[in-house]
């Protein structure tokens, strides 16, 4: 294997491969940093270009777009508090707070280093553990996924700030909102009141932009009277080696957490980011600084969500099965080049497979260099005078929502969620549990629905007799919950301590 790996690396260390990977990365970063443009969209649009390139240039090019897009999402999350994707929601906990302290440059640097480390490490681990990861992926079916998702939800719920009751209300409301539209198992309309425009359901993107961007804009307008608000914070100094070193445990922890989550098909980056954040906060000596602008609060979710990327490629490469849209597009790129991923490709053309895995690592390293060059430019965004930045944010919020899927109804959702988010801020409700419930409930419902169908009405016997992995996972729940809630039990429930609901992201005077 080592020899094949070495041959593979030699195949991609050529100028045109590196150049196109770099082009892909820049495109990806630009697309990822614009709310409303998704990485999947960019990859689908650029896919035909790869048809005309050599496989070892075209596929690394798409890998570049992919990596750049995932990283790019952290930029608006930090600078203006708008998460472009679910995966960067956790980055908005500390990102904007840091920007307001005049540390946006440090936050962007930290996001870059944590992303690159998480991604590169998980890609390297994937190269060496590809066999075992493939075995795990095959063992995870709907019942196992349901248990993992339910467990994640419970753990993440403990990180919500403010009162537990308020958090639970928001969580339940988010779960309810996800039910609106067509039932994914029975294909029956739910809570649509026979209004056609609601049949498509509520989409995550208008909700995210509404909940996060609009209140921010309204609050900025409100604080206009404060003369000091006109003064802008500069982007600040770059991240120092000392600061990076201080977050090394967090980055490592999140990388392994994210990698483990990536090995379970169907869980994904959103859960990884939240889990990384939760774990970092629990382990921190000073958890009260989380949510107020802690650099660890950037490092944790960013390392975790990028570490998911490596293992998610495994089912595609080992079995030829794409687990999501991104891997489906990559499969398209492979097939168009006459390469059919699967066991056969591994046996016949091992070096090519390793070359592609290697290109993921190289894309990460290139991302580091390109990020270095581009961050100073992005960081200047905070230097834009408020009077221009606020309307600009509004334009991007509205345009991004519409561009996403050209559905006018999404604009209605944007406004409704914007006002809702503003009210929630004022009433000191944290909107994060709502987003979490909204994101996690549909896959959970789907997995439970599938399990019910698979068990053919006899859930108990099905799980006991046919799903040993589910049984093992179920047995783990009490143990894990004990560790998670231990702090709560003995130290009093604090959640994200110190992060007073509403305090986060609110423009402070003089900021």
């Amino acid at each position: 294997m080592l020899q094949e790996l070495f041959e593979g690396l030699l195949l991609i260390l050529r100028f045109d491969t590196l150049l196109m990977t770099g082009v892909g990365l820049v495109l990806g970063i630009l697309v990822g940093s614009l709310p409303g443009f998704t990485t999947v969209m960019a990859m689908a649009v650029l896919l035909p270009i790869s048809f005309f390139l050599d496989p070892l240039v075209g596929i690394p090019f798409l890998v570049g777009v992919y990596k750049g897009g995932i990283y790019g999402g952290s930029i608006p999350a930090i600078l203006v508090g708008i998460p472009g994707t679910g995966a960067s929601v956790a980055t908005t906990f500390d990102g904007p707070a840091l920007a307001k302290k005049g540390k946006s440059r440090k936050a962007l640097d930290m996001a870059l280093y944590a992303s690159v480390f998480g991604d590169a490490t998980s890609s390297i681990l994937t190269i060496f553990l590809i066999g075992p990861i493939a075995l795990i992926a095959m063992r995870i079916g709907p019942p196992e996924l349901a248990v993992v998702l339910a467990l994640s939800m419970a753990i993440i719920a403990t990180t919500a700030s403010g009162s537990l009751a308020k958090g639970m209300v928001m969580l339940a409301f988010g779960m309810f909102l996800s039910l609106v539209g067509q039932d994914p198992i029975g294909a029956v309309n739910r809570f649509t009141f026979d209004i056609f425009a609601v049949q498509a359901g509520i989409d995550l993107l208008p909700m995210l932009i509404g909940l996060f961007a609009i209140p921010e804009i309204l609050l900025a307008v409100e604080s206009r009277i404060s003369a000091a608000a006109k003064v802008n914070k500069p982007e600040g100094d770059p991240l120092s080696w000392q600061e990076l070193k201080r977050s090394r445990r967090t980055i490592l922890r999140s990388t392994f957490l994210g990698g483990a989550i990536g090995a379970i098909p169907g869980v994904g980056q959103v859960v990884a980011a939240f889990m990384g954040y939760a774990a970092a906060q629990k382990a921190a000596p000073n958890p009260e600084t989380f949510g107020k602008g802690d650099l660890d609060g950037i490092a944790a979710p960013e390392a975790a969500n990028n570490a998911v990327n490596g293992p998610t490629m495994v089912p595609l490469l080992t079995l030829g099965i794409p687990g999501d849209n991104i891997t489906a597009i990559l499969l398209g790129a492979f097939v168009a080049q006459g390469l059919r991923p699967g066991p056969q490709l591994f046996a016949d053309q091992g070096p090519i497979v390793y070359a592609l895995l290697g290109s993921m690592v190289i894309a990460c390293l290139l991302l580091l260099v390109l990020g270095w060059i581009m961050i100073p430019v992005f960081a200047r965004v905070v230097a834009i005078p408020r009077a221009y930045l606020v309307p600009l944010t509004l334009i991007f919020a509205v345009a991004g929502t519409y561009v996403y899927r050209s559905n006018p109804m999404d604009l209605v959702f944007l406004v409704v969620f914007g006002l809702f988010g503003y009210g929630a801020r004022k009433l000191k409700f944290d909107v994060t549990p709502l987003v979490m419930g909204f994101i996690l409930a549909p896959p959970l419902e789907y997995a439970i629905g599938q399990t019910l169908l698979l068990s053919q009405g006899d859930m108990f016997n099905y799980i006991v007799n046919e799903r040993p992995v589910t049984l093992a996972l179920l047995a783990l729940i009490p143990v894990l919950l004990f560790f998670v809630f231990r702090n709560h039990l003995f130290a009093g429930a604090k959640g994200r301590p110190g992060a007073k609901p509403g305090a986060r992201n609110v423009p402070t005077k003089g900021g």
Binding site: L47, P48, A137, A187, I321, V335, R340, G342, A399, L453
Partner: protein, 321 residues
């Protein structure tokens, strides 16, 4: 805002329509870019087909083609948008027969597919086959149908999503044979295939390109197709299951809102027909593992009416139990 979004879209579209920049200055249709709505999400096979079409068609139409993805509500959102668009030939819909003709039987629609649309072209079709794991106890379609008939609900049929390209032909096939499997939905063909390989479900469906690449893991039992697609595998007709072959394949079709001016429709139909001879078009679709079995608009309009009737029967049949 609208300007911004259309600028962004034009940039993406024009990147692939460079050849079309030599815009004809004649004051006849088409005078401006044509928008092609896809009622499905990014990255799916329709999106990929559309990227090929939008990069080749402009050279035959004389205007760029802008792809607009409008997913949601099993394809109804995008279809409704196309139905409401002005019937001037500048908005067309790239859809498939299950969204087009089946949704009307399972949902209340704000449009009538057969009244509100006419066919421009069927660009190609995809024929799925019934597959089982290589080591499955079932060796032919009869043994599966027999088992499913004797043990109602016991057989687990994994498909790629409700009223989609695998569920409809699968359900038609089983219900014609009087068998009732448990239908288990998955989020796309990938997860459905994984469920089959992991043994979660007993039987599933796949397109040929997947069957080729999984030759070591799966065996095809019958092809839902009017003519042989895999050597040595019978079609549904040959296996004694009539009508499914014609009605169960997925047709990729381009529709235009009804009432579109005659000359615009004629121009669109001609452009699509001419594109079939394009070498690059053929090569790119071939690379995607798609055929280029073209059918002209008038011929396909007749197929649509038959589909409507057949799918109506299927839905009623499934609902009656």
């Amino acid at each position: 805002m609208k300007l911004l979004s259309s600028i962004c879209k034009s940039i993406f579209a024009s990147a692939f329509a460079v050849s079309a920049l030599t815009v004809s200055a004649l004051a006849e249709y088409p005078e401006k870019p044509v928008t092609m709505i896809i009622p499905l999400g990014a990255g799916g096979s329709h999106d990929l087909n559309a990227r090929v079409i939008s990069s080749i068609l402009p050279s035959y139409l004389g205007q760029p083609v802008i792809v607009k993805l409008m997913p949601g509500a099993s394809g109804q959102t995008g279809t409704a948008a196309a139905a409401n668009a002005a019937a001037d030939g500048y908005t067309i819909l790239f859809t498939h027969n299950f969204i087009d003709q089946l949704q009307q039987h399972v949902s209340k629609l704000p449009y009538d597919p057969n009244e509100d649309f006419v066919t421009v072209a069927r660009t190609n079709y995809a024929a799925p086959s019934v597959i089982v794991k290589k080591d499955s106890e079932f060796s032919d379609i009869d043994s599966i149908l027999g088992y499913a008939k004797e043990n109602p609900g016991k057989l687990r049929f994994g498909h790629s999503g409700n009223w989609g390209a695998f569920m409809v032909p699968g359900a038609m096939l089983f219900s014609k044979a009087g068998a009732r499997p448990t239908l288990v939905p998955h989020k796309g063909g990938g997860p459905a295939l994984q469920a089959l390989l992991a043994g979660d479900v007993d039987v599933s469906m796949a397109f040929n390109s997947v069957i080729d690449s999984q030759a070591e893991n799966v065996k095809p039992l019958v092809s839902v197709s009017p003519n042989t697609t895999i050597e040595g595998v019978p079609t549904t007709d040959e296996a004694g299951i009539p009508d499914v072959g014609e009605m169960g394949i997925m047709h990729r079709v381009v529709l235009a809102p009804a009432g579109v001016p005659e000359e615009a429709l004629a121009k669109l139909r001609t452009a699509f027909a001419e594109m079939q001879e394009d070498k690059t078009y053929k090569r790119m679709l071939g690379k995607l593992g798609e055929n280029t079995e073209f059918m002209d608009g008038e011929a396909y309009d007749a197929v649509r009416l038959k589909q409507s009737e057949e799918y109506g029967n299927l839905v009623r049949n499934l609902a009656s139990n």
